[in-house]
């Protein structure tokens, strides 16, 4: 299991770096405050995430052959750079959406680069997946992520649920725990600093400005969440239902905001959204935990792991009975007294199989 101190240190590092970078970006002053605030959110989350991941030591290879390296050093900088361009060029609407969509389409190929899921890679000589499957993976993920970013951007000109970054940070953390429980330890751990960075920047922006825009931070966080789900599912064993529920969880506040009554105060809608999301995330993590425990402790829940395991008392009784009877027969046939036989130095009674009595357990 992961070292809790190391995990907490990484999470604290990510939160500190993210907050620090965000606050530094606010320094230039009020004239360009909006662009710098947007930029600070993106750079803060990206920088804090990479710092936290580095603190965890999840970059063993040090080059881009690892999925986490590609996430930290290509995907996160790419979406951060895109958000900076959007922030400083003051573009909105379709140009901004198109820029984010281009990044979204590139995320999956970058993360799956060099794997068996893409043609012409190191899978030579093995049965790889068909080109149609590759196209379905890349197209499906690209479309889904682009749509997610579009939905986030679509709320730009109306009051965005203030709890959206909070929910996104919690979802990223839950995605990490679920990925960890699904058999990909470092991939799951890497999500925790990212979630901490999102939450820290969100907290800092709330303290700094009552109605700050979270668009760039949300984009970086959503791309990071998608990346964790991609590597968890295709490199680890994160199941499709878990991945889909986790992806959907981050949109619960938007759904609640759209469907909820306007008569309900915003803070109540926010509380309901967070409650629903936490309930959904808890269910997903609990299910992953149950699967994990069932796999590692089959004898506790699912009965005996092998047909012989549950028969141990029965086999013990049979072997004792059989060998005792054999011993009695042997002693009766050869000697008048067991005591006389036991004094013989070369005596070692054997069962029919040629093994000492009781040795039936040695090969179990």
């Amino acid at each position: 299991m992961p070292d809790p101190v190391a995990v907490l240190t990484a999470v604290a590092t990510a939160a500190t770096v993210a907050t620090g970078v965000y606050l530094v970006c606010l320094a230039p002053g009020a004239r360009v405050a909006c662009a710098f605030r947007e930029c600070g959110q993106a750079v803060g989350i990206g920088g804090g995430s990479v710092a936290g991941m580095a603190m965890l030591g999840v970059f063993p290879s040090g080059h881009f052959s690892g999925d986490l390296e590609r996430l930290a050093f290509i995907v996160l900088p790419l979406i951060t750079a895109a958000e900076m361009v959007i922030a400083f060029s003051h573009v909105s609407g379709w140009p901004a959406t198109l820029t984010r969509a281009l990044v979204a389409v590139g995320v999956c190929p970058i993360l799956l680069h060099g794997s068996v899921y893409l043609p012409g890679t190191s899978a030579v000589g093995l049965r790889g997946i068909r080109p149609a499957e590759t196209a379905a993976i890349l197209g499906g993920v690209g479309l889904a992520l682009s749509s997610g970013l579009l939905v986030m951007a679509g709320f730009r000109h109306r009051p965005r649920p203030p709890c959206l970054p909070l929910v996104l940070g919690l979802t990223i953390a839950a995605a990490g725990v679920t990925t960890l429980l699904s058999g990909y330890l470092t991939g799951g751990l890497a999500a925790l600093p990212i979630g901490a960075a999102v939450l820290a920047v969100h907290g800092a922006s709330r303290l700094q400005a009552e109605h700050s825009s979270d668009a760039s931070g949300l984009s970086v966080g959503l791309v990071a969440l998608a990346s964790i789900l991609i590597i968890g599912h295709w490199f680890g064993s994160l199941t499709s239902p878990h991945a889909l529920f986790l992806a959907a969880a981050s949109f619960v506040p938007l759904l609640a905001d759209m469907t909820g009554s306007r008569r309900v105060p915003a803070w109540q809608r926010c509380m309901i959204s967070v409650g629903l999301t936490v309930a959904l995330l808890t269910c997903v993590v609990a299910h992953a935990q149950a699967r994990f425990q069932a796999a590692y402790a089959p004898s506790q829940k699912a009965g005996p792991a092998s047909p012989r395991a549950g028969r141990l008392p029965e086999l013990f009784a049979m072997s004792v009975t059989r060998c005792s009877a054999y011993d009695r027969r042997t002693w009766r046939g050869r000697n008048s007294s067991p005591r006389t036989q036991s004094r013989s130095p070369n005596f070692w009674p054997t069962c029919d199989c040629g093994r000492p009595p009781g040795a039936v357990f040695t090969d179990m």
Partner: protein, 186 residues
């Protein structure tokens, strides 16, 4: 002159045929790789790879011997499905990124009862030169008409040298591997 050249060519051809070794294809049904690794310093977790493929050439001149072995990382089997999933993940073998574990000999030297093999082992995307002794070389015919020979070797690897650093405490660094294979003559 023409006859001399023809004779020389024939001699070279015969010599090259005589020098040609025997080529074998590994028989997966009679080949396997097993390993054991320490768990918490308490016990040995044992596992195997269910698939081993490759080919080798055996020659009277050891320098002309060659061995190429391919092991799909996906075929790792420790008898626990969840643990196998974890072993296939990027925490260990990263079988989706590095699907094949390969060994290719670069030098073969004759020793008592077999060969000393030097070769490049590629595991987890990292290639390292390894040296180990391989016993065997006896030949048999089974079934009738199928010539076969086989070799076995035991060696120790440090997984950290191949970039597999996850869980260094609970899971031991040294992996005790054992490989045994038969080849059928082509």
């Amino acid at each position: 002159m023409r006859g001399t050249i023809t004779s020389a060519c024939f001699f070279v051809l015969i010599a090259s045929m005589a020098a040609k070794g025997d080529d074998y294809t590994i028989d997966p049904a009679h080949s396997g790789v097993s390993f054991r690794i320490s768990h918490l310093g308490l016990s040995w977790t044992q596992g195997r790879f269910n698939t081993l493929e490759g080919a080798f050439r055996v020659d009277d001149d050891p320098a002309k011997c060659a061995f190429v072995l391919n092991i799909p990382a996906e075929s790792v089997d420790t008898g626990n499905a969840k643990r196998d999933e974890h072993l296939r993940s990027p925490d260990f073998f990263n079988s989706k990124q590095f699907p094949l574990i390969t060994f290719k000999s670069t030098a073969v030297k004759a020793v008592q009862d077999g060969y000393e093999i030097t070769g490049d082992l590629t595991l987890h995307g990292v290639t390292k030169t390894v040296v180990f002794a391989m016993q065997g070389g006896a030949k048999a015919e089974f079934p009738a008409g199928v010539q076969r020979t086989g070799y076995s070797a035991n060696f120790v690897l440090k997984r950290s040298e191949f970039g597999m650093n996850t869980m260094p405490g609970p899971v031991g660094d040294e992996v005790y591997a054992s490989i045994s294979f038969e080849g059928t003559k082509r």
